[in-house]
């Protein structure tokens, strides 16, 4: 019994920002469709429209060629569509069993939840991934205490528990290790045989080529291409996604070996946090060092502890003097700056003006009472140097596009002329044009003597920009790649755990 769902010409905006202007998707039972696009292309919005979480502003959804209105998550569930969300839909305070079966708990005759049945059914589901868990993962475990990969697996199991005919996997492999991904793909193959339809949203090309039958590419809110996977290759897919074959229009030709003679900018010994188990490395001035690895392996902790935002044990020396950083202010005094990973949550004050955002770390320099005129001039100068497109300094930051908003985050630190810049996935959700500007900017900063340490989930970026890359896996630096060994294949292998016990 074939079923199909089609999305035609979907339009969706959030306030003034257009997320989708012409979104299309065709899904059929027995197939895996890969929904591909760069960050900010509208992939997540598309999946939210299909599972009823957001309301569409234009276009239609067709179920078996008949128009249908998915007006709420409940409606989508009733239609047999289940989603594995990017931002997990799990309740941290409740148990694994309670979370999986929420709204469909097995009941007793008295109207209460049948705890034994609940336990059993959960065990059955958990067995699908047995052997790939790090912890014991029992049905009674509180979800909040689980590591990110297991939370993701619970989210997947929860979607399966609906026995849906269509499953949307939205970046579902982001936190999983290779064994778990392998098992998931085995399950997907079984689902195909069982006449289920799967939408696979990911930006990991290797995985897409492994598992998908069809593809559909979104770019800047529009569907620009769709077809069979066997008729296309990697290069062509990338071209559809970003209009270029590669964003790197410049080459990283010059050997950066002379940096080894430069003074040491930062040295870290045995740094430990909740997710780091003892990291040691050193960086020289003027280097552009990348941090690689699958998301959630400790990269964020590394950057935050270097900036003094989270507690850590271990030793750190910055510009040759030992420091223990307890607060970002101390890091700032040492000439450090952090461009955080989640710009909305960590980097910007959305309802405040561009001026206030740019000057937030620096007001103390403007005296009492604040010399607003001078603050404006300095802010304008920085904005100009970054090619910031804005209506005016007094406008709220929420009026800017993603790329320009990220420039404000960068600008507020560049104003302070930092010596070491820490960046957490800086080009996530940034359009292609701005990305190119960023890359040019980063390399220019390095040639001016600044040091950069940044984490990216984009392997191309790391290979194209960095002198060397430290790949973190499971809380430790497993590999260091540089020069000739810095290739995409090596990066991917290292991210999955292969190590060369590289130089530290």
């Amino acid at each position: 019994m074939t079923k199909s769902l089609s999305a035609r010409n979907i339009v969706k905006h959030y306030g003034g920002v257009i997320a989708l202007s012409d979104g299309n998707l065709d899904v059929r039972t027995g197939e895996v469709v890969a929904l591909i696009g760069a960050n900010g292309s509208g992939k997540s919005t598309m999946s939210k429209v299909i599972n009823g979480v957001v309301v569409l502003d234009g276009g239609q959804l067709l179920l078996d060629d008949k128009p249908v209105n998915l007006s709420s998550p409940q409606a989508a569930k009733n239609m047999g569509i289940a989603t594995v969300f990017q931002e997990l839909s799990l309740i941290p305070q409740m148990t694994v069993a309670e979370n999986i079966w929420l709204t469909r708990e097995p009941m007793t005759a008295f109207g209460t939840v049948n705890r034994n049945a609940l336990q059993e059914k959960t065990e059955q589901l958990l067995s699908l991934f047995r052997g790939t868990y790090k912890t014991e993962l029992r049905p009674d475990d509180t979800v909040g205490s689980l590591p990110p990969d297991e939370k993701q697996l619970i989210e997947i199991l929860k979607a399966i528990s609906f026995n849906p005919w269509m499953i949307i996997l939205d970046e579902a492999t982001a936190s999983l290790d290779s064994r778990q991904v392998q098992r998931l793909f085995e399950l997907i193959k079984e689902w195909k045989k069982a006449e289920k339809a799967i939408v696979f949203i990911s930006h990991r090309m290797e995985e897409i080529f492994r598992i998908a039958d069809k593809y559909s590419v979104l770019r800047n809110g529009k569907t620009v291409g769709a077809g069979d996977m066997k008729d296309i290759n990697n290069k062509e897919l990338v071209k559809l996604m970003i209009e270029k074959e590669s964003v790197f229009s410049f080459s990283r030709a010059d050997s950066k070996n002379e940096n080894k003679d430069k003074p040491v900018c930062m040295e870290v010994r045995n740094l430990q946090t909740d997710s780091l188990h003892g990291v040691s490395f050193c960086i020289h001035e003027g280097e552009l060092v990348g941090i690689g690895g699958l998301r959630g392996q400790g990269q964020r902790d590394l950057l935050l502890s270097l900036f003094g935002d989270i507690p850590y044990t271990g030793e750190m020396s910055i510009f040759e003097s030992n420091r223990k950083l307890r607060h970002p202010r101390e890091a700032m005094k040492q000439g450090l700056a952090l461009i955080p990973g989640d710009r909305a949550r960590e980097g910007l004050l959305y309802i405040r003006s561009i001026l206030e955002n740019l000057q937030l770390p620096s007001w103390a320099q403007y005296g009492f009472p604040l010399r607003i005129g001078k603050a404006r001039k300095d802010a304008e100068a920085v904005g100009a140097s970054l090619n910031l497109k804005m209506a005016g300094l007094a406008e709220p930051v929420s009026s800017l596009s993603g790329g320009n908003a990220q420039k404000v985050v960068l600008g507020k630190w560049l104003m302070r002329k930092p010596r070491l810049l820490l960046l957490d996935d800086p080009t996530k959700g940034v359009d292609v044009g701005t990305k190119a500007e960023f890359y040019a900017l980063l390399t220019r900063l390095c040639s001016e003597g600044k040091t950069i340490l940044f984490y990216s989930s984009d392997d191309e970026e790391l290979v194209g920009l960095c002198d060397r890359v430290l790949v973190i896996h499971d809380g430790l630096i497993r590999t260091e790649l540089s020069g000739a060994s810095l290739t995409k294949e090596n990066l991917i292998a290292a991210s999955l755990g292969a190590s060369n016990e590289g130089a530290v």
């Binding site: 900036f307 970002p328 952090l338 955080p340 206030e356 937030l360």
Partner: protein, 322 residues
């Protein structure tokens, strides 16, 4: 939902003017006598001064976000009013020390609030409500039997009377205007003010930009307490008598005033000018109700209803489904 293009403080002032004009139709009102109207208007503004000062601290904690509020303001007013009363004893030269004591005591109570909120993670509502009980308990201890004291002539002279014969503006209003300018300076022209708005919008981003969030929290609540203490000093200087419930009637209106003035109750945006306009609106409403001889019960219901209407306009949060 409609977007208001007039800035909230201006909207509040317009509302105040409309209410005042409407009140002209009531019996015992100014009718069409401009001179009487002017004098009544001046009186309203003078009465608003005290609510306005007490609303200043409230404005700060509400801007600081995280459901910030100060329910101990009323009891601090009562406490510092009594302390001033007792310390001054009618002596002019005791006025300054009494003022200082009021400020320090208020700041100390505010600091305790801030500590409970910041270190013990007690919600500001509950913390300040609990503290208000403690302060009231202290007031009862000081007040048992009757307190003996007197307000100094210079206080009444400065606060209740006009500045001079030629300028018929009560001293209190001048004090308030100066106070308003100082508050504006604090909020818009100091690093403290900029940081205050920042933590009100987003504490995580603020910390990652170097703001000492803990310090700001403690400072804000201490400052709010200090300002409430100042309010108590002014109130007793105006009325010359103390009561157990002296400060309590100011509490709810102080919050409503801030809301009327357009300061978001979720934090991160607002101004003291708005709270000043809000204080005038609320004082107008209260005095209108008194003129219409409405009992206290109606006053309470009207105030409650007003706040409810205001937050329905200004305070709606994100819908579950977008």
């Amino acid at each position: 939902m409609k977007r208001f293009t007039i800035s909230p403080p201006v909207a509040a002032l317009i509302l105040a003017v409309i209410l005042f004009l409407l009140s002209g139709f009531l019996p015992n009102s100014y009718g069409s006598d401009v001179k009487v109207a002017l004098s009544q208007a001046t009186n309203i503004v003078r009465l608003s001064v005290f609510l306005g000062v007490i609303a200043a601290g409230q404005t700060l904690v509400i801007i600081s976000g995280f459901e910030g509020i100060d329910l101990s303001a009323g009891s601090i007013v009562t406490l510092t009013a009594i302390l001033s009363y007792v310390l001054v004893k009618g002596e002019n030269n005791m006025v300054l020390p009494a003022l200082l004591v009021s400020l320090v005591v208020g700041a100390f109570i505010g600091l305790l609030n801030g500590a409970g909120i910041t270190f013990l993670k007690i919600s500001p509502f509950v913390m300040t409500l609990g503290m208000s009980g403690v302060v009231t308990g202290a007031v009862i201890i000081i007040n048992h039997g009757n307190v003996s004291g007197k307000v100094a002539p210079i206080m009444t002279r400065l606060i209740a009377r006009p500045i001079s014969q030629s300028i018929p503006i009560p001293g209190a209003i001048v004090i308030w205007l100066i106070f308003g300018v100082l508050m504006w300076l604090l909020l818009e022209r100091t690093a403290f003010g900029k940081n205050l708005f920042a933590i009100g919008v987003n504490r995580v981003a603020s910390k990652l930009s170097g703001v000492n969030v803990t310090g700001m929290n403690l400072a804000t609540y201490s400052l709010a307490g200090l300002l409430a203490g100042f309010g108590g000093f002014l109130v007793v200087g105006n009325t010359g008598v103390v009561l157990i419930q002296l400060g309590q009637p100011f509490l709810f209106p102080s919050i409503a005033a801030v809301a009327v003035g357009g300061t978001l109750l979720s934090g991160g945006k607002g101004s003291y000018w708005g709270s000043m306009a809000g204080a005038i609106v609320l004082t107008l409403i209260t005095s209108l109700l008194t003129t219409m001889q409405m009992p206290d019960s109606v006053r309470r219901m009207v105030l409650g209803g007003t706040l409810l209407i205001l937050i329905s306009i200004y305070g709606r949060q994100q819908a579950l489904r977008q």
